[in-house]
């Protein structure tokens, strides 16, 4: 008879390359943004909430999704930016619900807003989506202790893949940890509590590394 943890599938570490795709759909004001959202490819909504985290940046983003950032930077509508930013995609079970929520928030702003602010021509909202190519990092992790040793050094593509992109139970960090059951329940809960939407990938990586370190150093003590 083997223990539950011995039956666990290892976590095969992956990295990914995201290839951006222009949808050709653009918006210059709220109404155009709202109308485009009705039919835009669901992958584009995912892109502007999640894949944007892989974009290089020198600054902390003011807000966590591209819709909010555009409302703030290009329409100068801080109120709308705050409302859009509060939409946390983690709380939505599928992209269609997320789409409905976005449209609802935009409708409210369109109703309130009489200014009809337009972005500059060069700052149109460009609806983008992406496709992904996955790479094998040739690193296999059998137990959370092993992940603890390497997580702080993983490339951001790996963090994106294992935390955000994949729903495959043996590859998704949350489901992989949960499979170990009660033995790592505390650690799993702490990792789940790191809401990936609220952090940059760098922050998610460093905070995760700290959680693992605290957990295992605590055990050792």
């Amino acid at each position: 008879m083997t223990s539950k943890t011995e039956n666990m599938q290892p976590l095969v570490i992956k990295d990914c390359n995201v290839l951006n795709i222009a949808t050709g759909v653009r918006a210059q004001n709220l109404k155009e943004l709202r109308d485009a959202l009705v039919n835009i490819h669901p992958g584009s909504i995912t892109y502007h909430f999640w894949t944007n985290k892989l974009r290089p940046s020198f600054e902390e983003p003011e807000y966590n999704n591209d819709f909010a950032i555009w409302a703030y930077k290009s329409l100068h509508d801080n109120k709308l930016a705050e409302r859009l930013s509060l939409i946390n995609p983690v709380a939505f079970s599928d992209t269609e619900d997320l789409r409905k929520k976005l449209i609802e928030v935009l409708d409210l702003s369109i109703e309130e807003n009489q200014s009809h602010e337009r972005s500059k021509e060069s700052e149109k909202f460009q609806f983008t989506r992406s496709e992904i190519v996955v790479f094998d990092k040739e690193i296999v992790v059998n137990r959370p202790e092993e992940l603890s040793n390497i997580i702080g050094e993983l490339p951001l593509g790996s963090i994106y893949y294992h935390y955000i992109y994949t729903n495959e139970p043996s590859e998704n960090i949350y489901t992989w940890l949960a499979r170990f059951g009660d033995q790592y329940k505390g650690l799993t809960l702490e990792i789940i509590n790191l809401d990936p939407y609220l952090y940059t990938l760098q922050e998610l990586r460093s905070r995760s590394a700290q959680v693992f370190k605290d957990h295992f150093e605590g055990d050792a003590n």
């Binding site: 390359n17 290839l19 951006n20 795709i21 222009a22 050709g24 020198f58 190519v133 790479f135």
Partner: protein
């Protein structure tokens, strides 16, 4: 890992090369063809010059073919280039006929190679009709647009799109350039090669040799723009900016370093206008460099204090990336691909006018610490985003995706 790949790993990181090897593995031995219209001069030729050997090193059987034509063909394609960039050009039937006939003639020679290829990238409008002229093609064909086509003149795009629409995919440098097409339009910015003569490290003596060669004063600040003599590069605007700077910083020197591309018939006329605007100012150095003056340009960029790319339209502007790779702050026109490379206030400044450029130049010359910090940011930004290892990774990813799609 071969010596060449090791050299790339040293500059771009081992992970970048390992990813290329993983992507190239299923394509080993496959025939990959690039087609453009010039082997020297201009950004496309520079990219291919280094990318083709790198692809071969990865085991992909890669060749680079160049179509050739007469004056009327280049007049037509220059018109298309300008039209895609938004000029209301009127391309005559006579020139379009030359375009079609030139492509048909080139297809006679290239057809066996192209129809046999597994992967083909056709660069820019010049060879775009080749797909329609290779009916027995077996591979995946992708059209690459290097031009800022954000607001094309409609008749020009309508004409060209009849050839482009049948490709398996296309790719552009920015989302803004994408058009209405029936296939997927990927976004892949171009890149520089860190090992090329234009970007490699140089000995100090080689760098300093340009002072004497071009009568530059090593003790006085230098501002530089490297680009073809083309109105969209706004060399006259650079001279205006220099004149504004001169009022506050009399010791400033300006170098305009350009050459011609074999597919650009307007260069000489623009050069004459530039010389006229410079007048007899001894501190303006207008250089006409041969297409192989890569080390000279490299050295000029390294001796300069500030580098400009004040384009009015720019598909991407590899000279921006080159300057950033030398650790220099750059002042660029707020247009096209320059906006992707210059992170305003972090790796340089984006400007809309000669006055704006002058203001930032004066600001930087008075703050050497800021110049140094921007230069460091700029170099790291290029390392992460604009080296040819990243560029090739995305191209190979694109064809991997196309292959996967045709299997399902």
């Amino acid at each position: 890992m071969s010596e060449l790949l090791k050299s790339y790993a040293k500059v771009a990181g081992e992970d970048a090369v390992v990813k290329l090897q993983q992507l190239a593995a299923p394509m080993k031995g496959a025939k990959f063809v690039h087609v453009n219209s010039t082997r020297v001069g201009g950004g496309v030729a520079e990219i291919l010059m280094k990318m083709v050997p790198l692809m071969n090193e990865l085991g992909i059987d890669t060749s680079w073919e160049v179509i050739t034509g007469e004056d009327k063909f280049y007049q037509c394609t220059k018109g298309m280039h300008n039209g895609l960039q938004g000029d209301a050009v009127n391309i005559s039937e006579d020139l379009l006929k030359a375009y079609e006939e030139t492509n048909a003639k080139n297809a006679e020679t290239l057809r066996p190679i192209l129809e046999d290829a597994d992967y083909v990238i056709i660069h820019d409008p010049q060879p775009a009709p080749l797909l329609s002229l290779c009916p027995k093609r077996k591979g995946k064909w992708v059209w690459r647009c290097h031009i800022d086509a954000s607001k094309p003149h409609p008749p020009v795009w309508n004409y060209l799109s009849q050839y482009v629409k049948d490709y398996d995919a296309s790719f552009f440098s920015l989302a803004d350039y994408a058009q209405q097409l029936p296939h997927t339009q990927y976004l892949i910015p171009p890149s520089i090669d860190p090992l090329s003569e234009k970007n490699m490290d140089l000995d100090q003596s080689e760098i300093e040799s340009v002072y004497a060669e071009f009568s530059l004063d090593a003790e006085r600040p230098i501002m530089l723009q490297v680009s073809r003599y083309d109105r969209f590069k706004d060399p006259i605007g650079v001279i205006k900016a220099y004149k504004f700077v001169k009022e506050s910083v009399p010791e400033i020197q300006l170098v305009l370093a350009g050459g011609g591309a074999t597919d650009d018939p307007e260069g000489e006329e623009v050069l004459r206008e530039v010389k006229e605007a410079a007048g007899d100012d001894k501190d303006i150095h207008i250089l006409l460099l041969p297409p192989d003056a890569h080390k000279t340009i490299n050295a000029l960029q390294r001796v300069s204090d500030i580098i400009l790319q004040k384009s009015l339209k720019e598909g991407f502007g590899l000279t921006v990336t080159e300057a950033m790779w030398k650790g220099k702050p750059i002042i660029g026109g707020n247009t096209g691909g320059i906006r992707l490379q210059i992170v305003n206030h972090h790796t340089g400044f984006l400007v809309d006018t000669p006055e704006g450029a002058a203001l930032r130049i004066i600001e930087l010359l008075q703050n050497p610490e800021k110049m140094r910090e921007m230069g460091i940011n700029a170099k790291e930004y290029v390392r992460e985003n604009f080296l040819n290892t990243r560029h090739l990774r995305e191209i190979l990813s694109l064809f991997t995706i196309l292959d996967d799609q045709s299997k399902t």
